[in-house]
C-alpha cells in the first residue's frame, strides 16, 4: 500500500472555503438588497454586472498590469539561463506549462506571479532577490510562486474582490445621485441607507479579502515546500526576505543582558489591527507550517 506524505490540513481548507463562500454571499446580498430598496432593479443588476466586469478585466489583463506596475521586463532563456533552467525543472516536477519569466530591476527582495491562466502567466523576480538568496532558497521562492499559478490564485482573488468593487461603484453612484437630487427630500433617506450599506459591504469584503489572501499564501507555502521537498530552504528564504532573522534568535540571549530583560514577558500575541489588514500571514505561522511539512517528509518508513 502506497503511503502519502501530504499533511492533513482540514482546518485551513475549511476556513478558506468558508471565507470564499462569505465573500460570494456578500456580493449576492448586496445586489439583492439593492433590488428591494432601490426603485429601479435594473440599476442594481447593472452595478452587479459592472462589479464582475471590472474584476474580469483586472483578471484578464493581470499579467500586463502587474509587469508594468513593477517595471519588469520579460527575459529570454539566453539572457537568464540559470533562472530559466530552474523554472524548467520545477515545471516538469509539478507537471505544469512553463510560465514566462520576468526580472524587475529593483533593490527590494520580492517575487510575484500573475496571469489569467497557467498557460498565460508570468513569474517575476526582482534583482534584489536574485542577489540576496542562494540558489536553493530562490528555488523555494519560485516553487511558492508556481503554486500560485497552478492553483489560479489570481482568478480566485479577483473574483473574490468583485463584492468590494460593486460596493465601491455603488458608493460613487450614490454620491452622484445625492448631489443631483439633493433638493428632493423623499429620496434622501433611501440614498443614505444605500450609502451605509455599501460602506459596510466594502469594509467587510476588504477584511475578508485580506483573510483569504493570507490563507492562499499559506497554501502556496505548503505546495511549494512539497514541490521542492526542501521546506527548510523556503523557510530561510522567508526569514531573509522579511528581514526577520531575529524572530528565532541565532545567538544566546543571555549574552545580552539588556535584551534578556525585555524577553521575560513574551510579546503580546493575538488579534491586532496590523494582523487584520496584512495580506501575508505572520512569519511564525508560515515557519510553523513549514516545520510540519518537514516532519511529515522525514517520518521514517513504517
Amino acid at each position: 500500500m502506497a503511503r502519502s506524505r501530504f499533511i492533513k490540513d482540514t482546518g485551513l481548507t475549511v476556513r478558506m472555503t468558508t471565507v470564499m463562500f462569505l465573500l460570494g454571499g456578500l456580493f449576492v446580498g448586496l445586489v439583492v438588497s439593492l433590488m428591494f430598496w432601490a426603485d429601479s432593479p435594473g440599476l442594481s443588476v447593472l452595478i452587479g454586472v459592472a462589479g464582475i466586469g471590472m474584476a474580469f478585466w483586472q483578471w484578464w489583463s493581470s499579467d500586463k498590469l502587474a509587469m508594468k506596475a513593477m517595471r519588469a521586463r520579460e527575459v529570454s532563456p539566453q539572457e537568464a539561463p540559470e533562472l530559466h533552467d530552474m523554472i524548467d525543472r520545477l515545471c516538469a516536477l509539478a507537471d505544469m506549462p512553463k510560465p514566462r519569466v520576468g526580472i524587475a530591476d529593483m533593490a527590494t527582495p520580492n517575487a510575484f506571479a500573475t496571469g489569467r491562466s497557467p498557460d498565460r502567466s508570468v513569474v517575476c523576480v526582482t534583482t534584489g532577490i536574485l542577489q540576496m538568496l542562494t540558489a536553493e532558497e530562490l528555488e523555494g521562492v519560485l516553487a511558492h510562486e508556481l503554486s500560485h499559478v497552478a492553483h489560479r490564485d489570481v482568478l480566485v482573488m479577483t473574483l473574490a474582490a468583485s463584492a468590494g468593487i460593486a460596493a465601491g461603484l455603488l458608493m460613487r453612484a450614490v454620491q452622484f445621485g445625492a448631489m443631483g437630487r439633493s433638493r428632493n427630500n423623499r429620496t434622501l433617506p433611501a440614498l443614505l441607507v444605500a450609502l451605509l450599506v455599501s460602506a459596510v459591504v466594502y469594509a467587510v469584503s476588504f477584511l475578508l479579502l485580506r483573510l483569504l489572501s493570507r490563507y492562499r499564501e499559506l497554501c502556496a507555502d505548503r505546495s511549494g515546500a512539497f514541490l521542492t521537498m526542501k521546506p527548510a530552504a523556503l523557510a530561510s528564504a522567508l526569514q531573509k526576505i522579511s528581514g526577520g532573522a531575529a524572530t528565532i534568535p541565532q545567538e544566546d540571549l543571555r549574552a545580552n543582558p539588556a535584551a534578556s530583560a525585555l524577553c521575560i514577558v513574551p510579546a503580546i500575541r493575538g488579534m491586532s489591527m496590523a494582523g487584520l489588514f496584512a495580506t501575508h500571514p505572520p512569519l511564525e505561522e508560515r515557519l510553523a507550517q513549514l516545520a510540519r511539512v518537514q516532519t511529515e517528509l522525514s517520518r521514517p518508513a513504517g
Partner: protein, 190 residues
C-alpha cells in the same frame, strides 16, 4: 485541474503508469535496426531527495535492492547543479530489459514510500557508431517519452530528437507537447 483543487489550493500528487518503461527493450531493437543506435548499458533515475531521515533510509533500501540483483549491476549516486539526485545503474549493455526492471524498481520503491512528487524522469542513453548520443527520457509526471540529444554546451540536436519521436511513436507514448521536452544538460551517461 478540478474546481475543488483550485478552491482548496492543493493538488494531489500524480502517479503514473510505470509499465511504459517495459516497452523500452523492444524500442531499443527498433532503434538498433532502423537508426543504428544501441543502448550504452547504463540508465538513470532523476529525483529530488527530500531532507530528513526517511528519504535516506528509502534510498539506501533502493541501492541495496539493486545490488542484491543476480547480475549485480553497479549503482552510483550523483548530485547535479539543480539539487537533483541521479541514481545511475550500469550493467550489461546487451540486457536492456534487466536495466529497465531496475529503473522500474527504483521508481516504484520511491513511490511506495510517498516520495512520488519528487520523481522527475528516468533516462536510458543510446549511442551510435559515429559517437552521437541521445537519451530516451521518460517523464514521470506525464508518463511519456522524448529524446534528448545534447551536442555540447547548451546546444541540442533537434533533428535527431524529432526523428526519434517519429521512429518510436508507434511503440512508445511520445510526448506531443514540445515545450515539455526538458533539457537535461549534465545528465550522466550523455
Amino acid at each position: 485541474m478540478g474546481l475543488w483543487e483550485i478552491l482548496s489550493a492543493r493538488s494531489k500528487p500524480k502517479r503514473n503508469n510505470l509499465d511504459a518503461l517495459f516497452l523500452v527493450p523492444s524500442a531499443a531493437i527498433t532503434l538498433q535496426t532502423a537508426a543504428g543506435f544501441v543502448p550504452t548499458g547504463s540508465g538513470s533515475v532523476c529525483y529530488r531527495s527530500a531532507s530528513g531521515a526517511a528519504f535516506s533510509q528509502t534510498q539506501d533500501e533502493v541501492v541495496a535492492l539493486i545490488h542484491d540483483d543476480c547480475d549485480a549491476p553497479e549503482v552510483s549516486l550523483t548530485q547535479d547543479a539543480f539539487g537533483f539526485t541521479w541514481l545511475v545503474v550500469s550493467g550489461d549493455a546487451a540486457d536492456t530489459s534487466a536495466l529497465c526492471t531496475d529503473l522500474h524498481a527504483v521508481n516504484t520503491t520511491l513511490e511506495l514510500q510517498g516520495f512520488e512528487s519528487g520523481l522527475l524522469c528516468s533516462v536510458v542513453p543510446f549511442a551510435n557508431a559515429g559517437g552521437q548520443r541521445f537519451g530516451l527520457v521518460y517523464l514521470y509526471k506525464r508518463g511519456t517519452f522524448y529524446a534528448f540529444a545534447p551536442t555540447g554546451d547548451h546546444q541540442r540536436d533537434n533533428l535527431v530528437e524529432l526523428s526519434m519521436r517519429d521512429l518510436l511513436s508507434p511503440e512508445l507514448p511520445m510526448e506531443p507537447d514540445l515545450q515539455r521536452w526538458l533539457a537535461l544538460w549534465d545528465a550522466p551517461g550523455l
